[in-house]
Symmetry: C2
DNA sequence: TATAAATCTGCAACCGGTTTTATAAAACCG
DNA sequence: CGGTTTTATAAAACCGGTTGCAGATTTATA
């Protein structure tokens, strides 16, 4: 209800004076006046309008997180972890999910001049998880000045200076080599058919090096229940591999369940490896071998990078790559 | 880079003219001029500054979701579901988590006039999951006008007209009665010690009616791993109950794992009931009986309510209560 | 005591839009 | 052809803050 103008009128001061007293503790003002302003502001329950302030200062104290839909727990982990960081810095977190199921805006098609889907100007910075496609990058740039972006996960892109990488390559190779080392021959990959994906690359490369036949099962995106059914159908049709390297832990859990459905044992009949390191993998009767991603550390560093960039727009590029770690559990040990 | 002023100068028009042409398709303007403006705007990649627009119109096209930390999957489910709704309506979603672990702002203590933690004015409306405590309610109200709030979950509050309830009472009673009906006597409650909680109330009431001794194990908030340890220690100290009614599915899964650790079988030694209906409960070797919450429907209705309220601030109170549903699975069947 | 410096406060411009009001030109009409 | 209406655009007020600059006091210094 109370604007700074009303507060100023009430105090018989100009709004500039009031603003400075409220914002700048070091401004040269009469202690008595200062006290009057502060107490009256508190009495009237005055809070500056964040929108007006943002327009005047050019800062919104809001950062956007741009990530995939929350269909699996890994994404939740990322959001949770990042929201802790931003909250600690008194920033708001704006969530923009892409690639969701159901009614949604997965591409900027629904754009118009009147209702732009642009994040620039309404946020001070953006943290993405995964590298945004070019069409989206443009959206971060449509504003009056470029919005600082910190990309997490994925692989570095030349366009974006600030980057926290999650390097799966070594761990993924280690995972496949681990399966090969167990003496298994029919080792399948159950993953989204994306040639860019480091896991897929690692699988192909290690299998080639070992001279083993590749068996790539194209994962269809969906809920665990859907994945479970998909894998069950695959096994019914093609028989079961001796090991499955899964795109992520959710997939691995679905596969585990599908194997149970079929009366197959893990790891005796089929060895299993997932990826992400979500807590669930420990909570199955056979804990699942997984590639643990350092999400907490990633979030912390991403937030540090963004804060630095906000303070010093011309700071040198900030890049850090975190190594994922293979954690071998019962699902891949005989 | 381009503001409406630059665009207007470029076109040798006043900014008011440009604004109206871009926003109001019915405004009486020369077709030629209109076309000039639209094409030039597209060429220059003009997008109105959302902050400036928000200040002028009083609308931000942003809603806030105020919910608990994302430590369990149920919360993710809620966020995911709601974000789909808001995205479909071209609204931004601002996330404000409370009660987080780690560095965070769990109470408005860190408040100051300069950096207010107020959501009013920066969002058009708020959806909460759970009823916000009074100290927080004030924060939604500190702005120039009251922010519409739709409360989901929990129980109705007289203060807030718009409400989508999740009624656990019937299902929770049914769950405990189900356990009693199995002939079990030592039925424990493993939940946060909150007398307001419907689950806890249902447990107490049914146990009293059945003349059975109550055994309330106070759940400490934490990760599944921590809960697992806590329950293991409890059983070591006090022996195991014949059944456990858990605060939520995450707890139930942790308990399940703790029981496995101890060599106890579900449901033969201990029957298990969870609450929420998250997908994970189906993915254990013994699917867990749970109380399924209609989250998708809740989100849909909450968003409908909020949209209605934004359009008609004086519409009559909107209330709807959804019933949760007990789904009996293997963990509580002999 | 005159003057310079420091302290305090008001005024006005500005951020980038929207919206109301005013005015000029064109069209219409008797 | 003069007056009224319609059309097309400009000008200005406003949203609610921040901030640079200037003026008025007060204090310090010579």
């Amino acid at each position: 209800m109370a604007s700074i103008i009303q507060l100023a009128n009430d105090l018989k001061l100009s709004k500039g004076t009031v603003s400075r007293i409220l914002n700048d503790a070091t401004a040269p003002y009469n202690a008595k006046t200062r006290h009057r302003v502060l107490t009256r502001a508190a009495e009237m329950g005055y809070h500056p309008n964040p929108v007006a302030r943002a327009l005047a200062t050019g800062r919104t104290d809001t950062v956007a997180l741009w990530t995939r839909h929350l269909q699996n727990f890994y994404q939740s982990w990322v959001i949770n972890s990042l929201s802790r960081q931003t909250a600690a810095g008194s920033f708001n977190l704006l969530i923009r999910l892409y690639g969701q199921y159901g009614p949604t805006i997965s591409s900027p098609a629904s754009d118009s001049v009147a209702r732009p889907f642009v994040l620039s100007d309404s946020v001070d910075g953006v943290i993405t998880h995964g590298v945004p496609p070019d069409e989206w990058l443009a959206r971060f740039r449509g504003g009056s000045r470029p919005v600082p972006i910190v990309v997490t996960g994925g692989v570095p892109s030349p366009e974006i200076p600030d980057f926290v990488g999650l390097e799966l390559c070594t761990a993924a190779r280690a995972a496949v080599e681990h399966l090969v080392g167990m003496g298994l021959r029919r080792i399948a990959l159950f993953a989204l058919p994306n040639p860019e994906d480091r896991r897929n690359q690692a699988y192909i490369s290690v299998m080639e090096a070992a001279g083993l036949p590749q068996e790539c099962i194209p994962l269809r995106e969906g809920t665990r229940t859907e994945t479970r059914r998909q894998f069950r159908e695959y096994v019914t049709a093609c028989g079961h591999p001796e090991a499955v390297f899964c795109h992520n832990d959710d997939t691995a859990i679905a596969v585990y369940r599908a194997l149970c459905d079929l009366g197959l044992r893990v790891p005796d009949d089929v060895a299993l490896v997932g990826c992400d390191g979500i807590e669930d993998t420990e909570f199955l009767p056979v804990p699942i071998t997984t590639i643990v991603q350092p999400v907490e550390e990633m979030s912390r560093i991403a937030w540090e990078f963004l804060q630095r960039r906000l303070q010093e727009p011309d700071a040198p590029p900030q890049q850090h790559v975190l190594e994922a770690r293979l954690e071998i559990r019962a699902s891949s040990q005989k």
